[in-house]
Amino acid sequence: MNAKHLPSQLITSFKQIKELVLTSTAKNGPQRMAITGAHDAAAMAVLAPLVKDGLIYPTLIGDGRRIRSKAESAGVSISSYPVIDVKDEHDACAAAAELAVRGETDILYRGKVPAYDMLKVLCTRATGFRQTQDLLTHVAVFEMDGMNRLVFVSDGGVVVAPDLDMKIRILNQAVQIARQFGVTRPKVALLAAVETVASYLPVAMEGAAIAKMGDRGQLGNAIVDGPLSLDVALSPESAEVKRVNSLVAGSADVLIVPQIEAGNVMYKAVMTFTNAKMGGIVVGGKTPVIIPGLFDRSETRIYSVLLAIWLNHTMK
């Protein structure tokens, strides 16, 4: 997929994303979103404002009777939307994937089906949701207090233990996403526990190798550096105290974490103990996928859908 309509301005907040999405929806019409396991109070709570704003045209997949009752208690009128009545969770995931493969939906959203089952269906090549060369990766987008930019973190949600090659693909996809939010030349930090390269720390060595690929122009239009620790990547003060000489230190746009656990604890720590705003999306397949975490607030889930809409609008 090529991004042909990159935004002319730098996007720095979810408020701005919402405004842009409302404007572009007025021109392009609502996006079609298939919800698997739509008999889900949390999904209905997310759907209500999105439908009200005319942003989303949903297809509801799951237990038809329970979908109607959940919709009713959430005050969402679904009579004009298609309902695909499948009770089995796996069948619901397969039905959603099929819609995406046939081009009949623009976004997939996980309701009450296990995240793992849904990802398994989407990752299986035979499904056709992901192309041979594609890797599904999770990108979390943060708007944090005191930062003048969005920060993109990958992969804390899908790829379990990426090897070097997978890390490069994770990086490329995250950089592409950052560009779609107006960051023309993203600064990328390969996170580790240290800034110095040490032979007993494979993560630091991989960081160094990928950073050098960036220097040699092998990673496109991005400034890549690593290994860097999180504080040095984000905070100019830490970068100065540790005297790290790096174009990325203190001003990273994109953070690449070494393993799923690292990204996962980071986003959960930030969302549990700060006022940050966040949205998360899975990219690399036919459509963006939203797989909300158990603890994600409604706000986070809505931001995730806004991200997906914006990605689609800027990719057309």
């Binding site: 804390g156 996170l191 974490v257 656990e261 690292a262 996962n264 980071m266 103990f273 158990l294 603890f295």
Partner: protein, 318 residues
């Protein structure tokens, strides 16, 4: 096993207070500083002394140490300096002081960490313990109802199952030193259920089961568990997630140095958590303070090391 009988410490300032009370009651503690000719190290030694936590024996190049002390406005007469210009020899001397009982805590100066650890583990001294050395961090996170321990965010790059159990036991000792007699421990994963494709989740389940069988003393261990499950508890719409730890964890165990480090940094940089750390697994604790630590974090580390030293000593005496 010795369990401290004072009330559990719930905040960083209580930790500081407790260490100061201890030194007031039973005498100031001593840090043996391995290769002390460094500004940040000397500042930490000065602050610890001024706050009544610990005096320091500064082992290293006397001339360099004195010059730095002059520039920092530290009075030469207030500090004991043991002259040894050679870095390896100075480190060895500092370890010897600790081994001979002249110091309670071994503190790393500008000697490479690997050199110091090799000495601590060397048969030449009697500091080596039965398990591996590992790092335990203690965080005071604004918004969490008590202290949060985390291991290993500073030492072991990637622990295997056996090492992770050692690391866990070392950290449980640290929690005991803080008066948390039966810490609730969460084995952290990216998921809350066992996923056969994720080894971290399976290792967590194994250790949790060992805990149920009484194979991990002095703690309640559960996992796999995500960070938010460990610290926030079970969401209302999740059925059948029975965990005595969810929402009330005292200690988090992660599988790699990077995950631990990223978590500490997330909490310290983005939530302004106060934290301290200590290396345990030897007969006395090791204190490593990093250049980027704030003065408060450095003192928290030293206070933590003093409490751990005391706890280990009482444990050995029993």
């Amino acid at each position: 096993m010795y369990i401290s009988d004072f009330r559990p410490i719930r905040h960083a300032d209580q930790l500081m207070q407790r260490a100061i009370e201890l030194t007031q009651a039973t005498g100031i503690r001593t840090l043996s500083v391995a290769v002390a000719q460094n500004e940040e190290v000397l500042e930490a030694a000065r602050d610890a002394q001024q706050q009544g936590l610990a005096r320091s024996i500064l082992v290293g190049d006397e001339q360099k140490i004195h010059e730095l002390m002059d520039s920092l406005g530290m009075s030469r007469g207030d500090y004991e300096v043991l002259h040894e210009p050679d870095i390896d020899a100075a480190a060895s001397k500092a370890v010897r002081l600790a081994d001979d009982g002249h110091a309670d805590v071994l503190m790393k100066g500008v000697v490479p960490t690997a050199t110091l650890l090799r000495l601590v583990l060397s048969r030449e001294f009697r500091l080596r313990g039965r398990s591996i050395l590992s790092h335990t961090a203690i965080l005071d996170v604004p918004g969490y109802h008590k202290l949060l321990g985390l291991t290993d965010a500073g030492m072991v790059p990637k622990s295997d199952l056996r090492q992770r159990i050692d690391i866990l036991r070392n950290a449980v000792t640290v929690m005991h030193a803080l008066g948390i007699s039966r810490p609730k421990v969460a084995m952290i994963a990216a998921v809350d259920h066992i996923n056969l494709a994720m080894p971290v989740s399976m290792e967590a389940a194994i250790i949790a089961k060992m805990s149920e069988r009484g194979q991990i003393e002095g703690a309640i261990v559960d996992g796999p568990m995500s960070f938010d499950m460990a610290t926030c508890g079970t969401p209302a719409d999740i059925e059948d997630y029975n965990s005595p730890v969810a929402g009330d964890a005292d200690l988090l165990v992660v599988d790699t140095l990077e995950t631990g480090n990223i978590l500490v940094k997330s909490l310290s940089v983005l939530t302004r958590a106060v934290f301290g750390g200590v290396i345990v697994g030897a007969r006395i604790p090791l204190s490593l303070v990093s250049r980027s630590d704030s003065a408060q974090n450095k003192m928290t580390s030293i206070a933590l090391s003093i409490l751990v030293a005391d706890h280990l000593k009482l444990g050995a005496a029993k």
